[in-house]
Structure formats: structure tokens, C-alpha cells
Symmetry: C3
Subunit: 333 residues, 3 copies
């Protein structure tokens, strides 16, 4: 039994096969791959596209998805082994996941970091607990990485660019009024290096570098794929000649749990917003961003609504890639 | 591509065709009109019947409905063009609706007024934004009008009365402890005048007249249908000889945003409650009210539970008319 | 038309037939018993397993379940007859249930006690109101009893023990930081006495006895089934020779509405937790508990994770027994 927790758990051939199947599903969306099968979608955090696309994708393949929101319309859940459960949580993940495994064929889980202590968040305990206790395949619907977004992004890039090898890819930090999860940034780094891009990570200061785990995995991926990975703090240098600009805001790891101290640095870099002037430096570059996205904070309307914007295509592709993942995990294909 | 935003956007022939199809669906509810199709139901406000009836109606025609509640279990949404999104909203309606249009075949939206400033609420911006950005048909599930309720009401009246032309229809304001949306009242006015009724709008004072847009549309509808529209502040006059009494509470538009000043007027008119004495003045009149409805505040138990009460039939008809609307919009019929 | 409100409304033959059908559905889960049918699941309280298992069970038999959460994403509901609805509730159960009966074929309802006044809670008014107004079969998804849990528990016991007659069954109170519903305890008493067990109700003091209605029904059930019912306050005596230990926490009825006074008694009996030492006194006894369950508060990890633990089997069986109930109620079998 396989899970879909992180793209680095898959071989390049497996990733390519999933992308090929997703492209086929985009052309021909209806099939019986999940006929009479059930999927549990467990959301510890809000969702619009993830929920819709999993729920509809399951339906289009003959199955049914149940949406569960623990602590909201289901019980609060404890995750620690050997927990003495005298607090707010009524249920342990061990029971929750074992029971769901009796009811369903696939379990998706979304669990964002708590943003208090990165040394805790980086352990990705909720996802690991699900994988540990599940008798059925588990899909990461965003924790500290977002592998479904990675595949959707990869498919959108292939659709527009064809061959991706050694094209210039800029992953740029942007301002956001709140510190955000690094998951999509980690994931962009992982998939872009995997696909052979020459990747530039553009961020305000070295404090905004991603966790060393992902920096190192990105470097290793690039070495294997024939791409490259470098860091820049200079927007002009980074944008020049880029084929892809992927924007995302994230919180600086050294400031986890004391965000007031990070705020002035963030506030001083509002000019990292993606705008027409910066995009003019690119080589007819594509603009990407996962959704949701704040307009005129992360990117100007002009950039978001330009023909080079792939944000809607990428979001659509969530549907197709997730269907490919589900039928791969359940052995239907 | 057509939307279903307001009944006045449809010809009388189109309305009659929808009602005829709804009646047919009531007899024969199962079909493949939405086979493999998906529907997004976006609720910015609570729902019981709307949600149930759309979800079940979609299922009965072979499709699947996804229920989304932005700001609750999905992201908060910004609606203004050119918004600089540095507030609470994480997502712009442009992206939300464009992406949903990639996933689904029909989009329903419920967005009640904010009750602060009627000059803003009357623009119906959320509904218009959905229609503007959607690549798929949009259905109004209640904003400042409630056209699905109109069709359900019309079908219930036809079932009981047959020919509606120049029957006497009273739309009566009733007390409610809170100021409420005018949507159902606007809609009752629109559909009753459309169908050829002689309509009396009964309300405590001229301050409770509906927005001039709907008063004027009602008058124009009546002129075209051979019906009539007049206003009364006298329950006895209004009820006498009525064939239909449709009750609804709504807030007085001149008091929008300063409801404390309206409260004494509202409180002074609790006697507008529909009761047996008033109904005795009618010509064996039917009693209608959309749901939810507060018993013994809007109408007495005796009226609500009488054989002339059509509230449950009308609520049932939501299922049938909405199925007719969905298969009309998707070209399945 | 029958409802499924309490197992004592069913004959022993009917219970046995449901359990037999559930066992068959466990072997062969897919069928058309609810083809094109709809189910409403009305939750006034949180749920994970109940919701998932009903929703998936309905799907596996060709139907569709709608989940409604009044007061959360639907309207607040009033239950009293002749209510003058000038408070928070927007809707009366009469309308809610009558309308749902037009949309669906089965209605499930979960409504926990309010924990203020047991003389009110014990009337089970919400459930009775649903049954009173419903034009379709109603299923109790837990109110002051939990009959679906009873059947799931019974099936799990039959799977492990085969013949249940005069096996020793201990229903033990356990500590919990909050006073809890007596529903599952009431239900365990009802079903264990029904099935012919020799039942011991183990609780800290006589104040923790269950409501006299259930004590008396339990005694009557035991008299009819050839089992027995006795009370113990001594864990050693109770556990010795037991074939089944079923654990549950519940609030002491004499303290309803003044829980601060009960707290010291509860706190003084934390040692009622099910642990390995107590289980060693049993005759290779099975351990059961409905979910959710607090680990190391209700039972130690060692007990919960032992091969004699049937908690996951029992939770799985919810799916199978509820499908059997639904197709019995709808006449599909």
C-alpha cells in the first residue's frame, strides 16, 4: 500500500505517469475507477478548491467523498502517542483513522502548522499519524507541503511550456498581512527542482529561506534532474529572463511564535508584489500562484488577469491530478 | 448562456415552461438530466431547504452538488473590483467563480444583504459578480430577490387555484423581532403581478413600501399581465375577498442601518399577524409563507395548520422548480 | 410506517433479523436498496462516525444523504407545541420535519440532552417531535439512547462470542473530566439484557444508577431473555469472570444542572479506568467502548490496543447495522 504524502517519496517515472494520467483525465473526465468506493476528506483547516475538486473528482469516477471537519462539526482530536486525554480532545487519531479505514478506500488530510514552534510543526505529526494508523492510502491535502498543488502546477507548466528542462523558474516571496504557511513554497521548490528547472528562490533576506530540509532536497533534486537552485534577494536579477514566476508569501522560520518581531521586516518588503514592471523583465514569463490569492497585495490585477497568468489553469488541474492520484493509490489504474 | 438571477429576466413563456416542467418532475422525479454533472452551492448565509432541495434535486437527476460556505468552512471572499486585499478576505470572487466554473456545470449563490446601507445592498453586487465572472450558469438562491421561491410559490398557487388571472392576492407585512431581508417580499410582488393577480401590498405605513425598483416592476408586470397592484395599510380592507394571503416580514428601507429607530414602529404592528379572524374575511383564501417561519408571531397555529395553508407544498415545490431551472440552464431540456 | 427510535420498540425477532442482515451487508456491501432515495441526517450535535457511516452506507445502497446542522449551517429550531416564537429560533420542528419528509425517504436525528434538567431531558422531546411530524421513517442517531450503537455493539459481540446467553457482561462507569450523556449507558443496559447476558452495572455510588426507566426496562428485558441484571460498586467483584467489559462515562442524574457538586465524586473515582489489572480478573474478557474515547482516562492504551479490544469492530459495524435499519424502514428488504 502506498500513500501520497510528498512528491519526493515518488520516483520521477511515477510523477510523470501521474501527470500523463491527469492530462488524459482532463480530456476524458468520466470513468468508473472509484465505482462504489468512498473517500474521507479530513479538514483541520478551511478549504474551497481542495474540497470541491476532491469531492467532484471522486464523483466523476463513480465514488463518494465524505467531508469531515474535526473540532468544527466532528470531535477534537489528540495526536500524541500515550496521551493522557484529560484536555479538550475527545478522540485520539488512532481510533479516528482506524475507523475511517474501515469505512473508506482513501483518506485525505489537511492540517496546517500551528505557527507557534517550527521545530514541532516541521515534524508533520498529524500527517504522519494518519499514515501510521491508516489501513488505506492517505493523501496529503496540505500540511507543511502541498504535493497535490505541485502536480497541478507541474501540469499547468507542461501545458504552456512543453519542455521544462533548464527553463528559468523564479519562486518569489511576496508580502501578506499575516505570516503564512511555508507549505506551497516548500512544494514549489521541490517540484521545480524535480522537473529540471533552473530555480531561483527570491526572498527579502536570508531569514526567509525555507527550512534546510527543503533547501537540501531542492538542491539534491536539481543535481539529479540537471537543473539548478540558487537564492537571490534582488528582484531585478531574479526576474530577468525568467520563464516562470511563481509567487507565494510565507512566514520567516526564525520568527516562528514571535511574529510581532518579524512584522517590520515583512512590512518593509511590500514592493516584492508581482507587478507589470517586474514581469517586463522576464522572457514572456508565466505568472503562477496557488489560490486563494490577495489581489494587489501579492500581485497586481494587471498581472493576475494577463494572458500569461496560469492561476486558473493550475487550480483547475487540481481536479485532474487528484483523480490521477486517487486511482493510482487504489490500484484502479 | 443564460443565468437565473431574477424572474423578470425571463419571458412569461419561459416561466410557464419552467412551471410545466416542474409539475412534470413532481410526477416523475428521477432522470439523467444532470448525469455526471456537478453543481456548486455557495452559501454566504444559512440554509436548510435550499441546500437540501438543490442537493437532492441534483442527485435525482444524476449529478452531484458541492456545498460551500465561504468565511465558514471556505475562505472569506472580496467582491470589489480593483480591491487592494489587505483585510480579512483571502480570496477575490473573480478567482473563486472562475475556478468553480472549471469544476462544475451550474453555480448557485445565496448572499443576503448586509442591512447597513440599502443603497449598497440594492446593487446586489455579489450576485452580479458571480454572473460576471462565471463561465457557467448562475442561479440566485436568494440575495435581494428569491426567484426560486417565486417559482415554487407560483406552482403551489396553480395547483390549488388553477387559473390565477385577477384573483385577489394580498402580500402582507408581518411583525418579526428582527428587521429582515426584503427579498421574498420583492419576489412575491414580482411573481404575483407577473401571473395576472390583482395584488394588494399590505404594510403598516408607507415606510414599509418595497424599493421603488420593485414597486415599479410590479406595476409594469401588472399592466402587461392584465392584473393590478395597489397598496393598503388597512388589514380589513386588504383581506376582504382575498384568494391568497402571502405573509412576510421585512425591514423598512428608510431605516436601514438605524434599526433602533424602526423598532417602535415594528413593535406597534404586531397585530398584523395572520390569524383566523383576518382569514375569515377572505374568499376561502389560501395562506402562504416561505420557510423558516415563526409560529404565533407571523401567523397563528390555527392558520398555519389549516387545510388552506400551502406552506409545506410551496417548500416541497422548491425541489421541483429548481430541478426544472437546472436542466433548462444546462440545456438538458 | 415504522420508526427506529429505541430497540425496545422492536421484537427480539426484528432485532435478530436486523443483525443478520447487517452481517450479510458486511460481506456484500453494495446493493440498490436505496436507489434514487434520499436521507436527511439532522445533527444538533457533533458527529464523525455517525455521519460518515450513514452517508457512506446510503451511497453504498444507491442513495444520497444530506447532512443538516441546525443552528450551525441551518436555522435554529423550536420544539414546543404552541410556541410563541419570539426568541432565537427561526423555525419550528413541525415545518422542518414536514418539509424534509417531502424531500427524503428517511430522516435521522441526533439531539443530545441539554444537561440542565433531567426531568426535561428524559422526555426526549426532539426525537418524539421528529417522529410525530415526520411523514417518513425516523432514526435515532443518539438522543438519550443510542440504538444504532446497540446494534453495532451486539453484532461485534456475536462475531467474537457466538452464543451470548448468560455470558457475564459488565457495564462499567469510568471517569471523564466532564459529565456526559447517559445515552450509551442506557443503551448498553437495554441491549445486553435483551440478548440474555448476565449484566452487572458497575458504578461508583448509587447516585450513578441510570434512570429508573432504563433500570426497569433492563430488569424486564433480563426476565424475558433469561439473563439477569445486578448493580455493583466493587470493581473486583464486577470484573471477576466477565466475558465482556463495556466502559462508558456518564453524569449522575441527581446532580443534573449542578455539576460542580458532582465533580468531587467523579474526581474521586478516576481509578475506575479500565486497566490491565482489572482485565486480568476477567475470563479473557472483551473490551468495548463507543467512540470517541479518551485514552488513558477511560481505558489504558494497553487495554485499548489489546487483541480483546472490539472498539474498532464495533465502530465499523455502525455502517452495516445502519444500512440494515435503513433498508428495513424503507421496505427495501
Amino acid at each position: 500500500m502506498r500513500h501520497f504524502l510528498n512528491t519526493n517519496d515518488l520516483s520521477r517515472a511515477e510523477i510523470d505517469a501521474l501527470l500523463a494520467d491527469a492530462a488524459a483525465l482532463k480530456q476524458s473526465p468520466i470513468n468508473d475507477s472509484l465505482k462504489n468506493k468512498a473517500v474521507a476528506l479530513v479538514f483541520f483547516n478551511s478549504s474551497l478548491r481542495t474540497r470541491s475538486s476532491f469531492e467532484i473528482g471522486t464523483f466523476q469516477m463513480g465514488g463518494h467523498a465524505v467531508v469531515l471537519q474535526p473540532g468544527k462539526d466532528a470531535w477534537g482530536v489528540a495526536f500524541e502517542p500515550k496521551a493522557v486525554m484529560d484536555g479538550e480532545e475527545e478522540e485520539h487519531v488512532a481510533e479516528m483513522v482506524r475507523v475511517l479505514s474501515r469505512y473508506v478506500d482513501v483518506i485525505g488530510v489537511r492540517a496546517f502548522p500551528k505557527f507557534k514552534d517550527w521545530s514541532v510543526d516541521r515534524e508533520d505529526r498529524v500527517l504522519k499519524a494518519f499514515a501510521q494508523y491508516a489501513g488505506k492510502p492517505v493523501i496529503n491535502m496540505e500540511t507543511i507541503t502541498h504535493p497535490c498543488q505541485e502536480l497541478a502546477h507541474a501540469l499547468a507548466l507542461k501545458e504552456r511550456l512543453g519542455n521544462l528542462q533548464n527553463k528559468k523558474y523564479v519562486l518569489t516571496w511576496t508580502y501578506h498581512p499575516k505570516p503564512l504557511n511555508t507549505a506551497v513554497a516548500n512544494s514549489a521548490l521541490l517540484i521545480a527542482t524535480r522537473l529540471g528547472f533552473d530555480v531561483t528562490l527570491l526572498c527579502p533576506t536570508p531569514e526567509y529561506l525555507l527550512d534546510s530540509r527543503y533547501m537540501e532536497l531542492g538542491a539534491a533534486n536539481a543535481a539529479e534532474s540537471g537543473g539548478s537552485l540558487k537564492v537571490s534577494h534582488d528582484p531585478t536579477e531574479a526576474y530577468t529572463g525568467a520563464h516562470v514566476v511563481y509567487a507565494k508569501s510565507w512566514g520567516a522560520i526564525p520568527y516562528f511564535g514571535r511574529w510581532e518581531q518579524e512584522k517590520p521586516i515583512r512590512d518593509a518588503h511590500k514592493h516584492f508584489m508581482v507587478d507589470e514592471a517586474k514581469m517586463a523583465l522576464t522572457d514572456n514569463g508565466l505568472f503562477g500562484h496557488c489560490l486563494p490569492m490577495r489581489r494587489n497585495i501579492k500581485a497586481t490585477d494587471g498581472v493576475v488577469d494577463s494572458p500569461n497568468s496560469i492561476i486558473i489553469d493550475e487550480a483547475e488541474n487540481r481536479l485532474h491530478v487528484q483523480k490521477a492520484v486517487m486511482r493510482w493509490l487504489t490500484g484502479a489504474r
